[in-house]
Symmetry: C2
Subunit: 137 residues, 2 copies
């Protein structure tokens, strides 16, 4: 049952990433939710509230409150949408970008550490397989 083993591994993998993320985020002063929001905005840059809410799997009502706080912290900013005056575009401020960049570096460092036991060839094989899997998700 190779799938059964893989399933177990995914659960364990997901759990360990969660607790790693949890511990790293705690030191940043942001909540996990806030950091995740910064991450998603950082990756996609200038999202509408609706789009961002979907990606974060929360309602727009929830997001309004969350973005209010991040805006007060000076990490994100609302900009008017060019063609749709109902919409806002949410982007990172310079401080938000720095926060995003730092977290990004943490991710890379984490990835480097967990792949220490792998050769360069193995890392490429893993990336290739991951790519195939990601296409199905």
């Amino acid at each position: 049952m190779p799938v059964s083993l893989l399933s177990q591994q995914l659960v364990e993998f997901y759990d360990k990433i969660s607790s790693w993320e949890h511990s790293v985020v705690k030191d940043s002063g942001l909540s996990p939710t806030q950091m995740h929001t910064i991450e998603v905005i950082g990756h996609h840059q200038d999202l509408r509230m609706k789009e961002l809410a979907e990606r974060l799997a929360v309602t727009t009502g929830t997001l309004t409150v969350g973005i209010d706080k991040l805006e007060k912290l000076g990490l994100v900013e609302r900009k008017p949408h060019e063609s749709d005056r109902r919409s806002w575009l949410v982007g990172l401020t310079p401080a938000g970008q720095e926060m995003f960049a730092e977290h990004h570096r943490f991710h890379e460092e984490f990835t480097r550490e967990i792949s220490l036991g792998l050769s360069d060839d193995e890392i490429e094989t893993l990336s290739g397989l991951m790519q195939k899997v990601l296409q199905r998700m």
Copy 2:
């Protein structure tokens, strides 16, 4: 930069698992937190409150409230610890075990679907690499 690519893939992978989990759990009537608690108990069976709190990354105060609710729902039960009368052992009731088993089946089905693009050999290669990575986490 093979690590950089892998890092990106891990973020995307984690995100997609999160949203899948989110949607599946919603149909179960439990909150994500509650389902995660059921999962951890199901995997380890009969944990002390302290141990369970550590694995869930919450304080024991938080866990007390959470277990109270799951106990009211008839999914978990507290049993006295044999040798330490300060401690409780938390385990799944038959209903809890069924909930756990169902969720476990969802995980396997999910794994099966995302690995549809992979040959049996590739699945085994992926498992092998995952195993090496898990050892570093």
